[in-house]
């Protein structure tokens, strides 16, 4: 049975992902941070109980997101005419053969990607809380969740709602539904969740839960 742990001494080093400077790992106090001395990128920022908080906040985001999809979002009234719009209506506003792709992109960035990120993170991290090993594909799930981060645009969408309301408010009366407030709340929670996420610490925790495989081309 070959040894499955990677070479041990390399574990003590960290390469800054932004500038490739090589440092010996120095873990900060909980709540503190280690930054790259050359380019100032934050390398390690551990928080006690971060994994529990990330999973708990993720479940809250999931509940709010599902709720926000089915409750009324915005409604306008003018001279007896009225129209209600849900988040789905906004996402699917672009119709016609060439604009359908735009609808798909908007749906993905404001609903699909945020939901996928929550599900992937929870799948990867929730088993750690119960002391079980990492589920199959759990490592990949966490990496994908992090790679998707820039494509999750819920916070930009909610600011866009603000701008749109200013444009419409002269024209008609606008009623803000519960889905708007739920969506705003989930944006804030996601921002909080992202600040709790220290990649290095989480990968350490995943390593501790089940050893990493030896990469191809390496003899253990």
């Amino acid at each position: 049975m070959p040894q499955t742990r990677p070479p041990h001494d390399l574990d003590d080093y960290i390469a800054c992902p932004a500038c490739d400077a090589l440092w010996r790992v120095r873990e900060p106090e909980p709540g503190g941070r280690t930054t790259c001395a050359r380019c100032h990128t934050v390398l390690i920022r551990p928080r006690p109980g971060a994994i529990l908080q990330i999973v708990a906040l993720g479940l809250a985001v999931l509940v709010l997101l599902v709720g926000a999809l089915f409750l009324p979002f915005l409604e306008i009234r003018v001279r007896g005419f009225s129209n209600a719009s849900s988040i789905f209506d906004a996402a699917l506003a672009f119709s016609g053969p060439e604009l359908v792709w735009l609808s798909l992109a908007v749906t993905a960035t404001i609903i699909g990607v945020p939901m996928a990120r929550v599900l992937l993170t929870t799948y990867a991290l929730a088993p750690l809380l119960t002391g079980r090993g990492v589920l199959p594909g759990g490592r990949r799930a966490f990496r994908w969740a992090e790679e998707l981060r820039p494509w999750s645009m819920a916070e930009i969408f909610i600011l866009g709602v603000g701008v749109a309301l200013v444009k419409v408010v002269d024209l008609a009366r606008v009623e803000i539904g519960p889905a708007f407030w739920m969506f705003s709340a989930l944006v804030l929670i996601t921002l909080l969740q992202d600040t709790f996420t220290c990649r290095w610490t989480i990968w350490k925790a995943l390593d501790a839960a089940s050893p990493a495989e030896t990469p191809k081309g390496l003899t253990p």
């Binding site: 490739d20 090589l22 129209n83 735009l102 866009g160 709602v161 701008v163 990649r199 990493a212 495989e213």
Partner: protein, 245 residues
């Protein structure tokens, strides 16, 4: 040493014969193909990254032109139909007194995209041509581009919200124009351009210049000492290294 960029001389993982994972920061021997911890594909320096940057950059710029020429919004009211381009819509808002919103729109849809094209172009050229400059400032510029680039999507979302909300049969109807698609594509392409750029190359190019400066400085010192003391420098001392190109 007091020369710029010399305060922090770090050894890069590449110089140490290692490859760093861009995702989880773990280091591996140079020949490793995939990170054993997170599964990320490992490339010490991607030779093709600059071509990808320029490809996405050009695509983004090409999409940005129709995004400004065609209408973003088509508004139908009892009094007729009005087409608004990005800039036209912002000017309309300003004329109605909504200065703050007009500013947000102009900033997000005009200033940010143009600044982004300039910034990515500058960073890529600086690496490719080996321009001198402070690496830390370039790094901060890159981080700013990565952080702020996504916010240009706000205009697409505004159009989506208006088009879904303002559907009041004859009274008022707002529909998206063809510029919405072009603008969204431009934002996505420039985000991909920024993500294709490997920020580690900023530091490689500046470190290479610094190393050359050092050897040239040593040569100058050796030459000066020779002139003052009138004696050849003893062999084996670092000053005897051949002159730099």
């Amino acid at each position: 040493m007091s020369a710029p960029n010399l305060d922090i001389r770090a050894v890069s993982a590449r110089e140490a014969g290692l490859v760093g994972c861009p995702h989880c920061a773990r280091v591996w021997p140079m020949e490793t193909a995939r990170c054993g911890r997170c599964g990320q594909r490992l490339v010490s320096r991607d030779a093709k990254s600059m071509s990808r940057v320029w490809a996405w950059w050009t695509a983004g710029l090409m999409a940005y032109i129709p995004a400004n020429l065609y209408p973003m919004l088509v508004t139908r009211t009892l009094f007729g139909t009005q087409d608004n381009t990005i800039v036209g819509g912002a000017v309309d808002l300003a004329l109605h007194g909504a200065w703050a919103v007009a500013f947000v729109i102009l900033f997000a849809s005009v200033a940010i995209p143009i600044g982004k094209f300039a910034a990515i172009g500058y960073l890529a050229l600086a690496v490719q041509r080996g321009w001198r400059g402070p690496a830390l400032r370039r790094m901060q510029l890159y981080e700013l581009v990565e952080f702020i680039g996504r916010w240009s999507m706000i205009d697409v979302f505004v159009v989506a919200i208006l088009a879904s909300l303002v559907q009041l049969s004859v009274v008022a109807q707002i529909n998206p124009g063809p510029a919405a698609l072009a603008f969204a594509l431009s934002v996505i392409f420039t985000m991909l351009a920024a993500r294709s750029f490997d920020s580690r190359q900023i530091w490689d190019s500046v470190a290479a210049l610094d190393a050359r400066d050092d050897s040239m400085r040593a040569d100058t010192v050796a030459a000066a000492r020779q002139r003052i003391e009138g004696a050849p420098v003893p062999a084996g001392a670092p000053e005897t290294r051949p002159a730099a190109e």
